[in-house]
């Protein structure tokens, strides 16, 4: 039992309202240094706002104690498939907090924020280079947000050509749930295609749905099984051949840096998950960033503003300077529009930029190589423990069936919960949907061989427990701050805010 929680099982941390005592406050405010003005009509005002009143020390202890109830990358192994829970370098945090970046307002004149714009422009350029695209917009704020952006771009492209009947988006059955949800948001229709026995898109099925109503295909490559699409050129030919476009879900780009450029592989548009591939922290569920890269033909449709560079000596530059370089914000000519306010999650962009500059070309290729090495090594270590979904060389992740042959009553969920007792975050479970009892394991490149060996040993030991004492697993975890939670009750009788003691 290796999991170590500071206040594990020591009793629940009160909700902050339960710590409240009238008259306390955890911060100070400046004295008013101007005359008081008459307040507006009382009908516009409120009498009171029900917020907690706590001292600064109570507040700190409350949040620190809550933090100790969490698992995190900085505590231990976090092999969540598809989430790329790699180490978040600390220099990134220092960079994003530099006051010159952090204390700038998005509506400052562009000439007053050239540092920001230079960073954004260089990041656009680096992302273009790494993925082989002609244009990048940094505005989308998460992977799903980038997906919506990408699908709206594909739609806008067809609409601009007067090709109005292209309303269908093909989505493989191994895709993330965001793909079909995004398609629906964009007002388009989802057509699902199955995977074949080797985990690739079923080519015959794909061909049968190709035609002049296809807007595009959303393809995750490597896919959610951790497999590189073996017939990628044929897939590209089918979709492009029928006039469709190919969208790349960049969730799995950690396998591809310096290995292949999606733009050269035929992808027309792809989002990057800066919070996965480029090491920015996940923050307990955000903020992330989901910039979108596109091939030449889609550049005019990017959301904006994007950052453009102007060389002052060249014609068309309006800076009225004799020489030098300036950065401007421009809206692409046939843009789908803004997808959020301002220019993107700038603070996240600073972190990703810092990461790319720290690594350079060789470092990024090493990241992908070692991510793939780690996944294949861990898979090898698990041979004979849990069956892998497909006997192929994997990329940065792989999926096993979470059933020990000797303990059919023990499920992927039980294994996941028992891993917590061993001091590991469980893998992604029950996804992808096409593998029963799926456990999706993505070790990432920042984990050591020792960690991978220990994780494999834990799964082996749990297999023995499953055979000898299945109840131990059914009731796991035993060492976490709370035991299994009644999720049915949470959904049937929702309590979504504090309602008094």
């Amino acid at each position: 039992m290796k999991a170590d929680f500071g206040i594990r099982c020591s009793g629940a941390e009160p909700v902050i309202y339960e710590l409240s005592k009238p008259g306390r406050m955890a911060t100070t405010l400046p004295q008013l240094d101007v005359p008081q003005a008459a307040l507006p009509d009382a009908a516009l005002l409120r009498d009171d706002v029900d917020l907690p009143e706590v001292s600064e020390l109570d507040l700190m202890r409350h949040y620190v104690r809550m933090s100790q109830l969490n698992w995190a990358v900085d505590i231990g192994f976090y092999p969540l498939g598809s989430c790329t829970m790699k180490y978040n370098p600390k220099v990134n945090e220092a960079a994003a907090r530099l006051p010159g970046f952090a204390r700038t307002h998005p509506y400052q004149d562009v000439h007053a924020v050239q540092g920001n714009l230079r960073l954004m422009h260089e990041l656009q350029e680096m992302l273009k280079e790494v993925a082989g695209f002609a244009g990048v917009s940094l505005q989308p704020s998460a992977g799903a947000h980038g997906e919506l952006t990408g699908v709206l771009i594909m739609r806008a492209y067809h609409v601009a050509r007067g090709d109005m009947q292209r309303t269908r988006i093909i989505v493989p059955d191994s895709a993330h749930g965001t793909n079909p949800a995004t398609t629906n948001m964009a007002g388009l229709e989802v057509v699902e295609v199955p995977s074949d026995a080797r985990g690739n898109v079923d080519l015959a099925a794909l061909e049968s749905v190709c035609g002049e109503t296809v807007c595009g295909l959303m393809l995750t490559n490597p896919n959610t099984l951790g497999l590189f699409e073996e017939q990628l050129p044929a897939v590209m030919e089918l979709i492009h051949g029928c006039g469709g476009l190919v969208y790349g879900d960049g969730a799995n780009f950690n396998a591809l840096m310096g290995i292949a450029k999606p733009g050269e592989l035929g992808f027309d548009v792809m989002h990057f998950n800066l919070h996965k591939t480029f090491s920015t922290p996940h923050g307990g569920g955000g903020p992330g960033a989901g910039p979108v890269g596109v091939a030449e033909l889609l550049v005019p449709f990017l959301p904006g503003p994007v950052v453009a560079l102007c060389r002052c000596e060249e014609a068309g530059c309006d800076c009225q300077e004799e020489e030098g370089v300036h950065y401007h914000l421009v809206m692409p000519e046939q843009s789908i529009g803004r997808v959020r306010s301002f220019y993107g999650n700038f603070g996240v962009l600073v972190r990703a930029y810092t990461y790319m500059r720290a690594l350079g070309a060789e470092g990024l290729r090493e990241v992908s190589e070692m991510a793939v090495l780690n996944a294949n090594y861990l898979k090898t270590r698990l041979a004979g423990v849990l069956p892998v979904s497909h006997q192929r060389t994997h990329m940065h992740e792989f999926v096993v069936k979470g059933i020990y042959p000797s303990a059919p009553d023990v499920h992927a969920l039980d294994i996941s919960k028992r891993l917590i007792d061993y001091g590991f975050h469980p893998p992604t479970n029950y996804f992808p949907l096409i593998v029963p009892e799926a456990l999706m394991i993505e070790p990432t490149e920042t984990e050591s061989k020792e960690t991978l060996d220990a994780f494999a040993a834990a799964l082996r030991a749990i297999g023995e427990e499953a055979r000898d004492d299945p109840e131990l697993l059914h009731e796991a975890p035993h060492t976490a701050p709370v035991r299994r939670l009644d999720e049915v009750r949470a959904a049937r009788e929702p309590i979504l805010r504090w309602q008094g003691g």
Binding site: R24, L59, W71, S341
Partner: protein, 451 residues
């Protein structure tokens, strides 16, 4: 440096275990013609060199710490107490993922539950979610929710022109594929009353903002009644700091309340990451987007928290989900929760009043200048509109060049009828001396540039 821990010996052992000779052998599925492309990127830097370069880059900016700023317009310079950054810098919070495994995510889950509780208190609503990307996308998701509540049968959306221009743009971007009629904001000067009169039996929702984009406090009394009579929903965009003082939209029967939460514990950060606030009524909660945390018990009957009502969401419902959102802005919501709890019942009111009094002092001083006029048809809180004697861009160029002051937002960018009008924002961080300097500088602009 790639943060990879492997020694050469580790690599060799791992390759041997896999049964390949070289790492390159793992990539045989990648088409050979595209394999291992050259990446033309800048050479890697050590941490020390990198920080030096980044510092220099950041210093190319004229940040608000060195140049007093009167910009607001949806991004606000409020003081962030030190404890906020201390808490959100804890690895246990910022290096965690979405809390899918509740047993080892109670910290994130409880902090979101508390955030939801405080947002409900602030807005006067019954349910708040764990956040959206920003105020603009929260507004767009509110529109989609209203369309879903109307089961897709209503295709018209009415927006006040006094809603933030970028929020209105994002609503249009999000819904461009679903064939809506979006009206109300074609005429920039249209009043709330006139906008509301456009709501009819085909309308899914009306969107208003208070304080609106011009800083004015809208009177929402009776509005919901009128909108509900047409069976449409009332969506209100708010600024959370203002809700320390102003009547919450929940008291005026709003159906959905959204807003930009950046003011709460999150710095300016050149426009992001920010925080989309989203709150609604309990009866509609199953149509809302985003993550929700609920209270429940564990196997021992002990209180605990978990993500709930997830059958609305993409990973379960796929194309029938209420939205594709999964990642949100949890760490920004954490910062907002910490700031709200730090201010508490009295502090938030005091903060709102500080902004109010300072903004009114600034407005009175500017209005007293011979060439300037403050438009004060409606009460305001921390932002107000000033008619300038020369184009706003010229005013701002002069302020920055001669006085080191960042002036207000040029309303002519978005509103034809407000060319030459500046939106001035004053928060608690602006000392009286800076306000007086602005007033003096504006007087000088009128003399120097206006001449």
């Amino acid at each position: 440096m790639s943060y990879v821990p492997h020694t050469d010996a580790d690599r060799a052992e791992m390759l041997a275990a896999i049964g390949v000779e070289r790492v390159e052998d793992l990539f045989h599925d990648v088409p050979a013609s595209s394999r291992f492309p050259e990446l033309r990127l800048p050479e890697p830097l050590s941490e020390m060199e990198l920080m030096a370069e980044l510092e220099a880059m950041s210093e190319e900016n004229m940040d608000v710490g060195h140049y007093p700023s009167f910009l607001g317009a949806g991004a606000y310079n409020h003081y962030v107490p030190s404890l906020v950054d201390q808490i959100i810098s804890r690895s246990e919070f910022y290096t965690a993922y979405t809390p899918y495994q509740p047993e080892i995510s109670q910290g994130t889950l409880q902090s979101i539950f508390e955030y939801q509780s405080m947002i409900c208190a602030l807005t006067g609503m019954e349910v708040a979610n764990a956040s959206h990307y920003d105020g603009a996308t929260a507004t767009a998701e509110a529109v989609i929710m209203a369309l879903n509540v109307a089961r897709g049968r209503r295709k018209k959306v009415v927006m006040s022109p006094a809603v933030h221009p970028e929020y209105r743009a994002v609503v249009r971007t999000y819904t461009q594929g679903v064939g809506l009629q979006i009206v109300g904001d074609e005429v920039g000067s249209r009043s709330l009353h006139d906008v509301a009169s456009l709501v009819d039996g085909d309308t899914a929702c009306l969107i208003v903002q208070t304080p609106n984009f011009f800083g004015q406090i809208e009177d929402l009394s009776g509005l919901a009644e009128q909108i509900h009579a047409a069976k449409a929903m009332l969506i209100v965009v708010v600024d959370p700091i203002s809700l320390g003082l102003l009547k919450p939209p929940g008291d005026d029967d709003a159906d959905i309340v959204v807003g930009e939460g950046q003011s709460l514990g999150n710095g300016l950060n050149y426009g992001g990451p920010y925080l989309g606030i989203f709150a609604c009524r309990e009866k509609d909660m199953r149509k809302m987007a985003g993550r929700l945390v609920g209270q429940t018990v564990d196997a021992d009957g002990k209180r605990g928290f978990t993500l709930t009502l997830s059958t609305r969401e993409q990973h379960i419902r796929r194309e029938r989900a209420t939205s594709n959102i999964c990642t949100n802005q949890a760490l920004c919501a954490l910062a907002a929760g910490v700031h709200l709890a730090a201010l508490g019942r009295k502090g938030l009111r005091l903060l709102a009043e500080l902004c109010y009094h300072k903004a009114h002092y600034a407005a009175a001083q500017i209005d007293a200048l011979p060439d300037y006029e403050v438009l004060a048809a409606r009460p305001f809180l921390k932002e107000f509109v000033v008619r300038c004697p020369v184009p706003v861009s010229e005013v701002n160029d002069y302020l920055l060049a001669e006085w080191g002051i960042t002036g207000g937002y040029d309303l002519g960018r978005d509103y034809e009828h407000l060319a030459g009008h500046m939106l001035v924002c004053v928060t608690e961080v602006v000392p009286r001396g800076d306000i007086d300097a602005l007033v003096e500088a504006l007087a000088e602009v009128a003399e120097e540039v206006g001449r």
